[in-house]
């Protein structure tokens, strides 16, 4: 009769039984099956032994003095917590009610008297398998929970870092930006950046990296760094785009890239300059006419093309004060309903058409999306920028940490930029950095940059390229102007722009003389200056701005040479 089921692993088994003969018999059987046995003569003792010794399995008589098996089973199950400690009731109870009572108390199985040792061994083994299954499940659950905690922690840390980077610009501070971004949009690859240029223009980038999760977010860091760094130094969209593209191309794996729309909004010049690579159409909303001009993607995303093949050409659209630019991520258009139908651009247009309060456009879109899908997605980014007048020009004092004692105050330098350079190089950021070596000028860096930018683009566009600013009198002419500008610049093979810088110390502090010459035909200075100053006209804004911002403006050489002065007082 020695046909016992093989023991998987020696267990510690608690036997609670008030009948001495039964206890002796059962202990011997269980011990012979290879297990270690603990005994108790009543329920109270069983709970005590369990607390002390933590056996892995319990054989429990139902009816015992002091404390019966039902109560003891309840207490032991509670003490065991999540671990499965199987309890097998030893019973000759026959009534189903009594058996149900055993189950209610937490019993896992029954063993009827008289004992059959083969059945007992099989039951112990079966219960042991269950017990270990439960232990494995708990272990894996805890492991998964630990991994999950770890991942969440990493994501929180990463999000905090990314938030700091992504929101270090003016996205939250600027009064004219409204945006909606789900909290974890960044981890869906969406990136929204905004910053002021030295002249007070605003650069805005809405990007969408391929992929999801942390891999989609890592590219955000270098992209943001380039964006903020180059915007603050006065680089234009073209250079910034080239740098961003080159950086992403270099660091991202081949299957990763970044769809992006980059904007430059200029309240001074009343224009928006746009580059869209792979993003859904944005819109310029002409509030007066209600017309929405789409900002269409004309390029491959950032990080795809090699530097030689990258196309940095931008489009320029006129804007009136109060007009709005609206950008969105593909999460909006790709929102799918229960039948896998996409929300799409047409439904977006319907929302535009139905929108009565421009300030509630986001809410209208979100409501339409929620109605379409039945729930809100968490990878939706929308941003709207209103063109507002009077953005104050910012000094960039905070960027410098030196004391100014070492400022050079008595020097001159001249540059000549010829055709090949004019085509691809923007010297303004370099010139600005150079001039800001002079501590006294830093307070006026915004004005200095604006004036320099205006005079340089006049020299290039009206002088070297021979473009007539009167073209820009209406929207069509405006577009023609920028098309012509691109064409002529691409074909340029002669001509130059010279920049002469003279810095002299004065009794009060110092004085900067900036002379800019071009190789163009010149213009009738008297006549142009005599034109009425019309702030709503698209052309002619530049000169009035220059005259506002610098203390002295003089033309010579038939309009081919212009000279401005900036002076400053010595610092206390």
């Amino acid at each position: 009769m020695n046909t016992l089921a093989p023991v998987l692993e020696a267990l510690t088994v608690l036997i609670a039984e008030d009948s001495a003969a039964d206890l002796l018999l059962l202990s011997t059987i269980v011990r012979r099956q290879g297990h270690q046995v603990l005994t108790a003569r009543n329920g109270q003792e069983a709970v005590e032994v369990f607390t002390r010794e933590r056996p892995q399995l319990v054989l429990m008589d139902a009816l015992m003095p002091v404390m019966d098996g039902f109560e003891a089973a309840r207490q032991i199950k509670q003490l065991a917590g999540e671990a499965l400690v199987p309890i097998i009731f030893l019973t000759s109870l026959r009534e189903s009610e009594a058996l149900a009572q055993c189950l209610d108390a937490g019993g896992d199985d029954f063993l009827a008297k008289p004992y059959n040792q083969i059945i007992l061994a099989a039951k112990i083994n079966a219960m042991d398998r269950l017990r270990r299954l439960q232990a494995t499940v708990l272990q894996q659950r805890d492991l998964i929970a630990r991994h999950n905690d770890y991942l969440l922690h990493e994501q929180r840390v990463a999000k905090a870092v990314f938030d700091k980077v992504a929101h270090s610009g003016c996205i939250n501070a600027a009064p004219n930006i409204r945006y909606v971004q789900s909290p974890y949009a960044l981890f869906n690859g969406d990136l929204l950046l905004a910053a002021y240029t030295p002249s007070g223009d605003m650069h805005v980038l809405l990007g969408d990296f391929t992929g999801h999760g942390l891999p989609a977010a890592v590219g955000a860091m270098p992209l943001a760094e380039v964006f903020y760094g180059m915007t603050a130094k006065g680089y234009g969209l073209a250079q910034t785009l080239r740098e961003m593209n080159a950086k992403l191309k270099r660091i991202l794996p081949v299957d990763m890239f970044c769809c992006a729309t980059l904007l430059c909004l200029s309240a001074q010049r009343r224009v928006v300059e746009v580059w869209n690579g792979g993003m859904p159409d944005g819109y310029v909303h002409d509030v007066a006419t209600g017309r929405r001009t789409p900002l269409v993607s004309r390029h491959l995303p950032l990080g795809v093309l090699a530097a030689e093949a990258f196309d940095d050409r931008t489009e320029v659209w006129p804007m009136a004060l109060g007009d709005r630019v609206f950008l969105l991520s593909d999460g909006v258009l790709d929102t799918a309903d229960a039948y896998e139908q996409l929300f799409g651009a047409e439904r977006l247009q319907q929302v535009f058409a139905a929108n009565r309060e421009p300030d509630r456009l986001f809410e209208d879109i979100e409501r339409a999306l929620a109605g379409f899908r039945g729930e809100v997605r968490d990878d939706i980014s929308m941003v709207e920028i209103t063109l507002l007048a009077g953005q104050p020009l910012r000094s960039q004092g905070a960027l410098y940490s030196d004391s100014g004692q070492l400022s050079p105050l008595d020097w001159s330098v001249s540059f000549e930029f010829r055709a090949e350079s004019l085509k691809r190089y923007n010297p303004l950021p370099y010139l600005l950095q150079l001039l800001l070596e002079i501590h006294g000028l830093r307070e006026q860096s915004g004005a200095l940059y604006s004036v320099m930018a205006e005079l340089y683009s006049n020299a290039l566009e009206h002088g070297v390229l021979g473009l007539d600013s009167r073209l820009k009198r209406n929207a069509q002419g405006f577009a023609d102007y920028y098309r012509l500008r691109n064409e002529r610049l691409a074909q340029l093979d002669s001509g130059h722009v010279r920049v002469h810088v003279h810095v002299l110390p004065t009794a009060a502090g110092g004085c900067l003389t900036l002379r800019i010459e071009d190789s163009g035909p010149g213009f009738d200075v008297e006549k142009v200056l005599a034109r009425p100053l019309d702030v709503d006209r698209l052309s002619g804004r530049g000169l009035s701005l220059v005259r506002q911002l610098s203390s002295d403006v003089r033309w010579s050489d038939g309009g081919r040479s212009v000279c401005v002065e900036f002076s400053w007082e010595a610092l206390a």
């Binding site: 009769m1 009948s19 001495a20 003969a21 039964d22 002796l24 011997t28 008297k113």
Partner: protein
């Protein structure tokens, strides 16, 4: 069906399981049963107590192969739980009698082994 007082196959099985502990098991059973018989006599008028003792006694006598004794205990346990409690005393007497009958059989079995 003839009444079985002691099932010899059960004893054979127990001897195999218990090995050297077999005599001790017999001693323990005899000692335990003696106490239960006395407890039953004392509890004659307490149906609840009778039921409890009978339940326990039924278990151990069943395990030790005292088939008839286990049956009588079962009857006592069942009857003590009924609403109209009758004939308990007669059953207690029968159990008393049955134990007196099997006790020498167990003692003889025990006698086959040294103390």
């Amino acid at each position: 069906m003839a009444e079985i007082h002691l099932d010899p196959d059960v004893l054979l099985g127990l001897q195999e399981v218990m090995e050297s502990e077999y005599p001790k098991l017999l001693d323990t059973f005899l000692d335990d049963s003696q106490k239960r018989v006395e407890a039953l006599r004392k509890a004659r008028d307490d149906a609840k107590a009778l039921g409890r003792i009978a339940h326990s006694f039924k278990g151990s006598s069943g395990n030790l192969g005292a088939v008839r004794l286990a049956q009588l205990c079962q009857q006592l346990e069942d009857r003590s739980a009924e609403k109209a409690v009758t004939g308990l005393e007669g059953l207690v007497d029968q159990i008393d009698h049955e134990f007196a009958l099997v006790k020498p059989l167990y003692e003889r079995e025990r006698g086959r082994f040294q103390a």
